[in-house]
Amino acid sequence: MMKITKKVVVGRRDKADIEISLNPLKKNDIGVKLESSVERLFGNHIRNYIKEYLLGLGITSCQVIAIDDGALDFVIKSRIESALYKSNSALLEKFSFGKREKRERTVDFRRTRLYLPGNNPYFMEGGGLFGADVIILDLEDAVSQKEKTDARFLVRNALCNLDLGDAEVIVRINPFSNGGEDDVKTVLPGLPDAIMLPKTNGAEDVLRLDRLLEETEDENNITVGVTKLFPLIESAEGVVNAYEIAKASKRNVMLTFGAEDFTADIGVKKSKEGKELFFAKEHIVLAAKAVEIQASDTVYSDFEDIEGLIKDTEISKSIGFDGRGVIHPLQIEHIHNVYKPTKEEIEYAEKVVAALEEAEKRGSGVASLGRKMIDAPVAKRARKVLKLARQYRSK
């Protein structure tokens, strides 16, 4: 039995979204006043949905005023939960969520990681359509301070309800100093594949998150250790400590670089050619490769400059990055094209693998191509090229 005692407003008057305000009501009743652009088709459904959800949580008295522009049910649910949480945070425990099915994911290549703003349902709904290898539901920079709670619930429900295709779905949390711990506790039951930790300055940041994940996984009956970790390095200190960061946790799968904060930190302006970033980039690549994890470059922020994006990505690939950040879906295809193995690379790789198999058949430990012996790194690279080539064929 619970009453709403103070007015709370959440959500936005925006397409695919719903603004919901909860207001105290004297009598024991749940009233829903709805203004919706889809009133004739979904009005009754939305009113019932809101009412049923509140009753199910034991709310007995509340006047709901909702302004809707085509929000899907999971968005409506997120907004109600955020509003209720703001009036009484103890309700968190009672919020339902259809647990996301844990899929067996084999993400070998992370060429693109697409950022989706964590409080924008419209962008989220289409996020899985563009073939990004990794989708980042962002609670940090893309969300204003006053929308942090709303975004947390939207991301949690998106994880459970939104089909984002074959992508690895991860959540960028806020730094611990700004609610990062609550972020993890709220979204982890939705089973994100990984957490991205912004502003990672040293091993202790990774260790803290590692412990928090262990604890939260345990509390939620999630296999301990299953949630992966993407440290985001975006400070001078972080770059210097990159190797320590990379080896701090077994959860780490990829070191990622953020140039915007980094240039501010070292007191320079970000340039088009990015001279000021090279040392940091190469350092991060080395640190990642030293512990055999991947490295991902920063975003290319001018999304209309496709030629620039391609050139920059070619450089990025040439210094050892496995992929990069993406701020606009249209960048994805071009980045994937850069990482596409050439015909020559594939043919060479096929020869190498054939020679290896041949040697194995003969029971010989040494394979050679022509007069050249195939050493371990060459073999490894050939197998990777073929695997990557298969990925292009299957999509």
Binding site: V38, R40, L41, L72, E125
Partner: protein
């Protein structure tokens, strides 16, 4: 009221307002019925004629009376002043019970609602959309409206099904004898293709211009031989809203993805080969497909024989690059196209009868290889709705949709799978505009469904990397995201007939509860 089921299972009244209705029997079932065309009365032309007069005089001299039909073309699009101006004047004269037969209406025609309320306009034939459509949906129009395709409208006029008493045709340039064009003057809009049948077959033809030029007005789209009166006014429209300065392609990633799938589908379908032809439109997705097709053509060295449209700068650019041999032009969307239309003899005007009249000896839609069209809804039988929304409101005209679908070798519907949580793929469309037998594939961002009747196409697209699904799978996938909407709340009264291009009735639209 007695009903009969048409071939799509839609109930059609046997008779309405004295008109005996023929139910739709299939896209090419009609054989013309051996009827004769009606011809307008024989005019005479003597020296010394003075055709110049005021709008009021033109209306009075034309003999317009209560119960008659007036017509307009829509080349001035949402910048049009002429329709409102003429109907205002008719209202001032006190004439009532007029049938309005425009080739299309736009939001700028909202003031017509007042004239519907006060009895000046009692019926609409041809097309309607936006605010007028909404008013009619709620039962605001006394008589039953008739919606036709562009080709169907030309057919109805030529067959005599739609008799026009007076046609009021806006021209951006005209001489005092009535030769008129749309390419000169401050209000230039391009060809006069929508008004051609009106000029040829109306009892009286009034040219309305804001740019009177010394005789002869050359070039002309409408010749003086078919013009009774010439009226000069201050402005025929707002140039900013007649055509846009530039055409911008959609920036929505989802819509661009749909366009990309469509262009790729066309390429892989085998229809894209040397000398192929295609239809373009003004929608954001259509513009993007045009641009992407152009890129593929350039890459692969394929040239098209013609583009028919609704033309934008994107189509003109392909023409200028030599990738397209000719442009067929029914209407213009931006200024760059008018330049090309005025200056290039391979850029030609296509009156609607030439474009799409089924009762003709050959219309050009039959020579189109590829068309990509929009919709408000599609269903599992591939029927397409482009008139009503899922709530039943009649908000769009048909345009050339049905005509292009009937003629094209490959007709694609390019649409987002849902809009504002309203699913686009339905069990049964709210209204059938275009029959499924003329649709080959539905292209959405969440999958492409090929019409099972096109076994050849299904076979050909096997092994494609495109996300090919069945229409049922697509419907389920989208409904899982959006949920199922409620059916429209409609009354029994029929407010509009959807006429197929051959004059049969493919569906009816009912009054929506307020």
């Amino acid at each position: 009221m007695e009903f009969i089921e048409n071939i799509l299972g839609r109930l059609i009244p046997v008779k309405i307002e004295g008109r005996k209705l023929r139910p739709f029997q299939g896209a090419f079932a009609d054989d013309g019925g051996g009827r004769k065309r009606v011809t307008p009365p024989i005019p005479v032309s003597k020296p010394g004629q003075n055709k110049l007069c005021s709008l009021r005089e033109a209306i009075e001299k034309s003999g317009l009376k209560d119960g008659m039909t007036i017509s307009f073309h829509h080349h001035l699009r949402d910048g049009d002043y002429v329709v409102n101006m003429v109907v205002d004047e008719i209202s001032r004269i006190g004439i009532k019970d007029i049938t309005l037969a425009p080739s299309a209406l736009f939001p700028c025609h909202k003031p017509l609602i007042e004239h519907i309320k006060n009895g000046v306009i009692t019926k609409i034939e041809g097309s309607m959309n936006g605010p007028v459509g909404e008013h009619v949906s709620y039962g605001g129009l006394p008589k039953v409206a008739v919606l036709r395709t562009h080709g169907g409208r030309a057919r109805a006029i030529e067959d005599g099904d739609l008799h026009i008493d007076v046609a009021f045709l806006a021209a951006s340039s005209a001489d005092d004898y009535g030769n008129a064009n749309g390419v000169d003057g401050a209000s230039a809009f391009g060809p006069m293709a929508y008004g051609y049948a009106d000029a040829m077959f109306a009892d009286s033809v009034v040219i309305i211009t804001d740019n009177l030029v010394p005789y002869p007005c050359a070039p002309y789209s409408i010749p003086a031989t078919h013009v009774d009166y010439v009226v000069v006014v201050d402005r025929i429209g707002d140039p900013e809203r007649i055509v846009s300065g530039t055409t911008r392609i959609t920036r929505s990633p989802t819509r661009l993805l749909i366009a990309k799938y469509a262009a790729q589908f066309i390429k892989e379908s085998g229809y894209m080969k040397e000398g192929f032809s295609f239809q373009t439109g003004a929608g954001g997705i259509s513009l993007a497909v045009t641009k992407m097709l152009g890129e593929i053509m350039e890459e692969e060295g394929i040239r098209a024989s013609f583009i028919n449209g609704g033309l934008s700068t994107f189509a003109v650019n392909l023409f200028k690059k030599g990738l397209v041999a000719a442009l067929y032009d029914g209407q213009v969307f931006d200024r760059g196209v008018i330049e090309s239309f005025r200056n290039d003899i391979k850029h030609v005007e296509t009156p609607m009868t030439m474009y799409a009249n089924y009762h003709s000896k050959g219309c050009l839609v039959n020579r189109l290889d590829v068309g990509f069209l929009g919709a408000t809804e599609v269903d599992v039988d591939f029927n397409v709705n482009c008139n009503t929304h899922s709530d039943g409101l009649l908000l769009h005209g048909i345009g050339g949709h049905t005509d292009v679908a009937a003629g094209c070798g490959l007709t694609l519907i390019t649409i987002p799978s849902y809009r504002k949580r309203i699913p686009v793929v339905r069990e049964r469309v709210t209204t059938v505009t275009t029959p499924g037998e003329t649709i080959d594939a539905i292209v959405t961002e969440r999958g492409i469904a090929i019409n099972p009747q096109r076994k050849d196409l299904i076979e050909r697209m096997k092994g494609s990397n495109l996300p090919i699904v069945t229409i049922e799978e697509l419907k389920d996938k989208v409904e899982k995201i959006t949920g199922k909407p409620e059916p429209p709340r409609v009354k029994d009264r029929i407010i509009a007939l959807i006429e197929y291009r051959d004059g049969t009735i493919i569906d009816v639209v009912k009054e929506v509860e307020k």
